[in-house]
Each structure stands twice: as structure tokens, then as C-alpha cells.
């Protein structure tokens, strides 16, 4: 989004300052609570959480079963839970099925496992096309899927948040759970790319 490379709109900056000041003066918000929340989502929550979930599922077949049967509870086993991820469903990519997550009506996204969404996920090009032309979207992300593979789009409407369990790449049998987690990208857990591995 080009908008993000411009200077901030001074009118917007002023509106935000006014709103925070009035709410604070009325005893309704504590600006320090905002600082705490910003720090939490900027530094403590992010796709590294989801990567741990995926790496565990790849490494532990029993965990994977629990994850696909009850995402919320299996994810909370690893300590991840909360706002905008209260009810989680995990969908598994296989050689036959590719899953893709979108929220056409707003920008629902599983915060506890992926952090806050990137701008493209929240923007009209992705939201408009992911349901009608998911293969076109995937192709722009570098993933050209054969016709035999079924593309399943999940239009997340807010109550339930979705995460993709990507396919484990070939040649990773010897990797530890921590090493696997390093391979796993945010975009692979939205379903717009695959996890890649090149032996070094």
C-alpha cells in the first residue's frame, strides 16, 4: 500500500490525539494501558507463535490430531490464546487440498497465533479476489496450483478464526521442532504460500 510510505495525515493524527485526550480526561482510558497493549502485540505476539504450533503438529502426530479436532484447546496447550482467537479452527493442507484464509467483510485474523494482520490482508485487492479468484491470488504469490488440487477458501466472519497447517516440506525429517519452526512463514499459515526447505 503506497499509503504507508507517505507522511501521516496531520488531520488523522490530530483526531487520534483528541480522542485519546478526551477519553483519558473522562477517566475512561489509561494511556499506559494502551502502551502495554501495543508492546504486547508489537513484541510478544506474532507468527512465531503459529510457527510453534505448526512445528509441534509436524513433530507429534497425537498433537496434530488434537489440533485438527479442537484448534482452540490444542493451541492453548502451547500457551497461546485470547483476543481475536477465542475460537480457532486449523485446516490442513495436503497434496490434494490447498486452504486459503480471507475475511471479505472486514479483516478477521487469528491474533494469538499470527499477530496483527499485514496491510494486504486487510485491503480490497485481497478481500475482493480471494473468494472468486483464489488461484489468481496464489499465482501472484508465486504458487501455481494444478487443476487437480482442490482450493478451499475459508471466508472468516469473525466468530471462528482460521489458521492453515501447511504441508511439511520434503527433506526435513532430521530437523528438530525448533529448526522446523524457523522455516514456517506467516504467509504459509494464511495459505498464500508453501513452506520451503533447501538443504544447506
Amino acid at each position: 500500500m503506497g499509503a504507508n510510505h507517505r507522511d501521516p495525515d496531520p488531520e488523522v493524527v490530530l483526531r487520534v490525539k483528541s480522542l485519546e485526550k478526551v477519553l483519558s480526561d473522562k477517566g475512561l482510558i489509561d494511556p499506559e494501558a494502551i502502551d502495554t497493549l501495543v508492546d504486547f502485540y508489537e513484541n510478544k505476539v506474532g507468527p512465531q507463535n503459529g510457527a510453534k504450533v505448526v512445528a509441534r503438529a509436524w513433530s507429534d502426530p497425537e498433537y496434530k490430531k488434537r489440533l485438527l479436532a479442537d484448534g482452540t484447546s490444542a493451541i492453548s496447550e502451547l500457551g497461546f490464546s485470547g483476543m481475536q482467537g477465542e475460537d480457532m479452527v486449523v485446516v490442513e493442507n495436503t497434496p490434494k487440498t490447498h486452504n486459503l484464509i480471507v475475511c471479505t467483510l472486514c479483516s478477521c485474523y487469528p491474533w494469538p497465533v499470527l499477530g496483527l494482520p499485514p496491510v494486504w490482508y486487510k485491503s480490497p485487492p485481497y478481500r475482493s479476489r480471494a473468494v472468486k479468484d483464489p488461484r489468481g491470488i496464489l499465482s501472484e504469490f508465486g504458487l501455481d496450483l494444478s487443476e487437480e488440487i482442490e482450493v478451499r477458501v475459508w471466508d472468516s466472519t469473525a466468530e471462528v478464526r482460521y489458521m492453515v497447517l501447511p504441508e511439511r516440506p520434503e527433506g526435513t525429517d532430521a530437523l528438530s521442532e525448533e529448526e522446523l519452526a524457523e522455516l514456517i512463514t506467516r504467509d504459509s499459515m494464511i495459505g498464500v504460500e508453501r513452506v520451503e526447505y533447501k538443504e544447506s
Partner: protein, 219 residues
């Protein structure tokens, strides 16, 4: 409402623009708006569905030319004035007409991360009968409510299959109008791409959408 937010299936927005090494926030003001979200939720002046509907009521041009956190800002301002928490004068002056001490329900730095970690599910532990079963064929109603709805235009009048019963949840459509929780089952409904977007679509592709009892009829 058939507002600017209902983007599924539209053409003409161009390619997806990825940003390399995108930061969590682009501007300091975005952080303040983001942090106000849990703080305002804790105060319960409005619910999350009303907040969404506040964004949906933006003009098409504003919605499509402003960034995501501007949508939040617009909805905060709109709802706080509508609910009588603030006045437009206070917002434009940046001065509270009658300053007060901390409210009991104010989110504090001490309980902020607790709220983030627990969240607030709209799942309701109520024994409400399900109208539909997994495997059943259902028709998404052709409805055009003026308020908040989770049934997007592209799926209305289309036939799908119930693939999951998520349990009983607050009904977002009524909740977003402030007309009650109306708890009912929420289902994952799978629609074939050919049903949604015509015979030229790949025959095995599909979209699964979460819909409530009141959005569906047996087909």
C-alpha cells in the same frame, strides 16, 4: 447493509500489494488507535459487532481511500458520540467538558495483557437446538438488511452444504444493531465455486463461510 465493506467477488482493485519487511505499525497514531480497541471493549459502551457496523457505515469513497486503522478511528468516534459518551464538540476541541477520575471499568496497565490473553468469545453455553446437521444441504437466504449482517452478497441465494456445527454463538446481525444476542448455532457452510461464481469456475474449488441458523433454510 450492502455497504463498502462487502468486497467479496468484486473486480477492479488490482493486484495484491505486499510490503517487504512490513512493520506491525506504520505510524505512531496507529498504535494509539489499536490500543484503544481493547480499552474501549472493556468499557462495554458498544460491542464488537456495533464497532464493525460503524465501519460499514462509512461512505464508499472514505472507506476505500482510507487505511484500516482510520476505519477503526471513524467507528470509535461515531459510536462514542451516538452512545452519548462524548460529544462532537469534545472531539473537535480535544477537551473533556467535565473531567472525571478513573472509572471502575477502565482498563489498567495491570489487567491489559490479561484481557488480551483471555479475549471475549461470543460463544454461549446455552442448549439451543440446531436447525441443521452436518452434511445437510442449505440455502443462504436472499436478505438485504439495512443493518449489520454476516451474510455477504456473493453467497445470498446460493446452495451449500453444512460441513461443521461450531456450536451456539451470539447472532452478530442482531447484536450489531443492539437488538439482542439471539443465541443460535453457527455453521461452516461449504459452497462450490461453480455455485457462487458460475460454471467457468474450477469444478472442485469452494468457499466455506460461517453462517448462523437465521441465515439459512433447508434446501
Amino acid at each position: 447493509m450492502n455497504g463498502p465493506h462487502d468486497l467479496g467477488g468484486l473486480d477492479g482493485f488490482g493486484p495484491v500489494m505486499k510490503e517487504a519487511n512490513e512493520p506491525v505499525f506504520h505510524y505512531p497514531w496507529e498504535k494509539r488507535v489499536f490500543g484503544m480497541f481493547p480499552a474501549l471493549m472493556a468499557l462495554r459502551f458498544f460491542n464488537l459487532d456495533e464497532l464493525r457496523h460503524g465501519m460499514e457505515r462509512m461512505s464508499f469513497a472514505s472507506y476505500l481511500t482510507s487505511s484500516y486503522y482510520e476505519h477503526w478511528l471513524h467507528s470509535f468516534e461515531t459510536l462514542l458520540v451516538e452512545k452519548g459518551v462524548l460529544t462532537a464538540d469534545e472531539l473537535s476541541s480535544g477537551k473533556a467538558s467535565s473531567p472525571q477520575g478513573p472509572s471502575d471499568s477502565m482498563l489498567t496497565p495491570e489487567n491489559a495483557n490479561g484481557l488480551a490473553r483471555s479475549g471475549a468469545s461470543t460463544r454461549i453455553d446455552l442448549d439451543v437446538a440446531a436447525s441443521f446437521k452436518v452434511g445437510q444441504s442449505v440455502l443462504a437466504k436472499n436478505i438485504h438488511p439495512m443493518g449489520h449482517t454476516r451474510l455477504p452478497r456473493y453467497a445470498r441465494g446460493k446452495v451449500g452444504e453444512v460441513v461443521e456445527d461450531h456450536g451456539v454463538f451470539v447472532f452478530a446481525d442482531s447484536h450489531g444493531q443492539g437488538t439482542g444476542a439471539s443465541p443460535q448455532h453457527l455453521y461452516g457452510v461449504k459452497f462450490l465455486a461453480t455455485e457462487l461464481f458460475g460454471d467457468d469456475s474450477p469444478p472442485n474449488d469452494s468457499v466455506t463461510l460461517d453462517l448462523w441458523d437465521d441465515h439459512l433454510v433447508a434446501s
